[in-house]
């Protein structure tokens, strides 16, 4: 599996955990998953329940994590 595919899978897992309202979606966990951007981290952490905002931030995150081709 390529790094890009692995990053996509990781983001899908974050989406699933978000939908399941996992309390493990905390700052420490997200940083450990190398979701690096502070702004995006903050957005994810501060929009619980706002699905549209979450999906939008997730798309940014996907772009950020995708290795340059």
């Amino acid at each position: 599996m390529s790094p890009a595919e692995r990053a996509d899978l990781q983001l899908r897992l974050v989406q699933i955990a978000y939908r399941q309202r996992s309390p493990a979606m905390d700052e420490h966990t997200l940083k450990r998953l190398r979701l690096r951007s502070e702004a995006i981290l903050d957005a994810i952490l501060f929009v619980p329940g706002d699905d549209l905002a979450f999906e939008s931030r997730l798309q940014e995150l996907r772009e950020e994590l995708r290795p340059a081709s």
Partner: protein
Amino acid sequence: MARVTVINDSSEFLELMRDLLTSLHHEMTGFVAVEASIDEVVDSKPELLVVDLRLQDRPQEISGWEIIILARSHRQLLNVPIILCTADVWELKKRTSDLEQVAGVHVRTKPFDLNEMCHLIQRLLGQETTERSERGGQ
């Protein structure tokens, strides 16, 4: 190649695990629910079980915790390693002391680190060297 059985009420999670396990060249059987006899789990002949702690409770179906207990008392599943994946941290805390009594259960909360999960899967299946050599070969 090894056989891995994943039990999770989220079809989305099953799809994700199928992609992950396929990339590791393993064969996955997925169940969104399991009945108390766990015959279908036994029939899938798993070398590794990945179980969600909280499953939807319909009367004839059982929880992930019950699956673990039944697996550990079943002749054919007794020694099969189990990865317990859950987003339900509160239920997990309630089960901590119970889980400590059950051998071979590895707990990961969602969202877990996929790289670490891959290493854990390969280690439990005794295929860590294969994974490392494949990654080194990329």
